[in-house]
Symmetry: C2
């Protein structure tokens, strides 16, 4: 059980009604968290909201912790990772906790030399470029090597019981593969696509391996108590619909199918406005979209059987609070009367984002249903 | 009149039928270039094809010229710029020439200190960040300061008369503004959007200025002989549809309206799958889309009154020729029986692209209608 350390991550002045909104669920026995109801497309008394990277570099409390702990050390320190997760939920008054971790952690047991250089993002020392690199990949138990993530989930869950559900997550096979191949972030994904087009044996071997690993990793997180899981396919929008179907869809489907509907699965990507027809085939319960499409249009294309998450432009959090509130209301108005909407950004909170902007957004979402 | 210098840019082994396809137009008096017919949504005997950045770093002939001339010096040297333009058309057998220039040339008379550092892309020394920067912008005649672009067009046009139409171009106001504000290329366009959201006076002042400049610049190109013009709004896909309407659409419309339908206008952007409904309102004759949406779906959303250009993934040019041909056929099959399709990439040819891949693509497009 975590004792929440107010000195590290102080609970903030969240308006009373916003706090109360979390507790709606537990104060009425038999009623579930709004977030989980929305994941299943059920009606909710208010639109639940959480933010990708809600515990991130924009928070002074987080930056202070990072002064003494590297990014990876913080991920591995389940106690502190859980404190960061929980403290953020209490500070922001969001309706779900997402565990503090990274989409690329599964690259650690793969032995490719993953590093997070300060201020430079992830770097993979020995990227995958040929069949020998794939054949060399170790046979590992991710449940053991990444057990610390399960521990973080268990600690968070114990602390937040009755307050907010806990979301586990992993990178989706395509996005993890793209980092493993490019060696870091990329603009055009040239190496990834070259492998895809020219070396199908290498591509499919790598994707099959990552799919197994990701499935086991998410099952471990669910066993540890995750109430939902999100698959981050952040860069999948670099693909054409046809290439998505040929090279990626079977693996996304396989990961999701392996979880056997034990908890809701959110599938998130950016630049996917033209991919929604094929993303619908993944089997995800919820699809997360960015701001590059109107949310009602995205919903139309996904169909009513899939819930939707998004789609506030994270850069708009740099605007004045009045503009932020207006933007939030526009999105909410588009989804009026259509259950199955989880409010979120269209991508993670950016470093440098004003905390006041984030609080204004969450407030605006919660205020909407109390007009 | 340019004497085509075969030593600089040798005419290549283009198959006889592909060569002939250009000439279809002039050999039958009264029949126009297939490219221009397609721009107007009229039927064509074959699907015309040209490639963004068709004269680029991937070509050894071009790299040799760049050994003695900087990028900007090459743009300013109309004779050589026209040779590069014409030589590429002859080498590739494409159905349109796009003038050798850069979307950011209008930043030169704006006096912001534009530079093209070797291998690093454009850099703006004094980016726009406040109202004083906008008020300081000079009152310039772009027709005079960028007269060399008109000269390049006139020289190219004279050389290619009866062979291929000549496309002039400019950056669209949003994309030019984003470079002027960010100071270079950007991932999240944070500074651009901050200005947009927080400093509307600065934003609208800058956009109005660039709109005037761009309109005059394109009118000059049309007077010099451009048969069509393309507005490159390469990064407009970083915006939500709502922000596009509020902050960008009026300026795009104004540029296009100022040309008074004198020649077809192509409006191109990437990551626009969710923006097509608002892009339809620009008044463009042709809309260029990337590979992130199926072309028939994009066409459906734009309506039959607008022609469409795209949408082959430029990274697929790194694939084996058989895979390239297959990809080309898939796009052509989607547009079967629907006139108003100009085959192109979804973005520019990348440095390092195999020339054989480019030739295979053009061949596949021309071969399709001769099956």
């Amino acid at each position: 059980m975590i004792v929440h350390d107010a000195a590290i991550m102080p609970a903030l002045d969240v308006p009373e009604w916003a706090r109360a909104s979390h507790f709606t669920d537990i104060e009425s026995p038999g009623v579930e968290y709004a977030f989980l109801r929305a994941c299943r497309g059920e009606s909710t008394p208010f639109t639940p909201v959480w933010l990708m990277r809600q515990a991130g570099r924009y928070l002074p409390e987080y930056r202070r912790i990072r002064e003494r702990l590297s990014f990876l050390d913080l991920c591995r320190d389940s106690q502190t990772a859980a404190e960061v997760t929980v403290g953020t939920v209490r500070k922001l008054g969001v309706d779900a906790a997402i565990i503090f971790a990274d989409i690329l952690l599964p690259l650690l047991p793969m032995g490719l030399g993953l590093e997070f250089a300060k201020g430079e993002g992830p770097h993979v020392e020995r990227p995958i470029r040929g069949i020998a690199d794939v054949e060399r990949l170790p046979n590992v138990s991710v449940a053991e090597t990444l057990a610390f993530v399960g521990e973080t989930i268990a600690l968070t869950k114990a602390e937040l019981r009755g307050v907010a559900p806990v979301i586990g997550f992993a990178g989706a096979p395509f996005t993890v593969a793209s980092y493993a191949i490019e060696g870091g972030s990329s603009r055009n994904f040239t190496e990834t696509k070259k492998l895809m087009y020219r070396e199908p044996r290498v591509w499919h071997g790598l994707m099959a391996y990552i799919t197994e690993l990701t499935s086991a990793y998410l099952r471990m997180q669910i066993e540890a108590g995750a109430d939902a899981v999100q698959l981050f396919d952040s860069w999948v929008g670099c693909l054409s619909p046809g290439d998505y179907v040929d090279y990626v869809l079977p693996y996304t489907q396989q990961v999701i199918a392996s979880l056997r509907s034990s908890v809701p699965v959110i599938y998130f990507g950016t630049m996917t406005a033209g991919l929604l027809d094929v993303i619908r085939m993944t089997g995800a319960d919820v699809v997360g979209v960015d701001w590059r499409i109107d949310l009602d249009e995205a919903r139309d294309r996904l169909g009513e059987n899939v819930a939707i998450q998004g789609n506030f432009d994270p850069v708009k959090l740099f605007a004045e609070p009045a503009e932020i509130r207006k933007g939030a209301r526009e999105i909410l108005a588009r989804m009026e009367g259509r259950p199955g909407h989880i409010f979120n950004l269209g991508h993670g909170v950016l470093p440098g984002t004003p905390v006041d902007g984030v609080l204004a957004l969450i407030d605006a979402v919660h205020a909407y249903d109390r007009r």
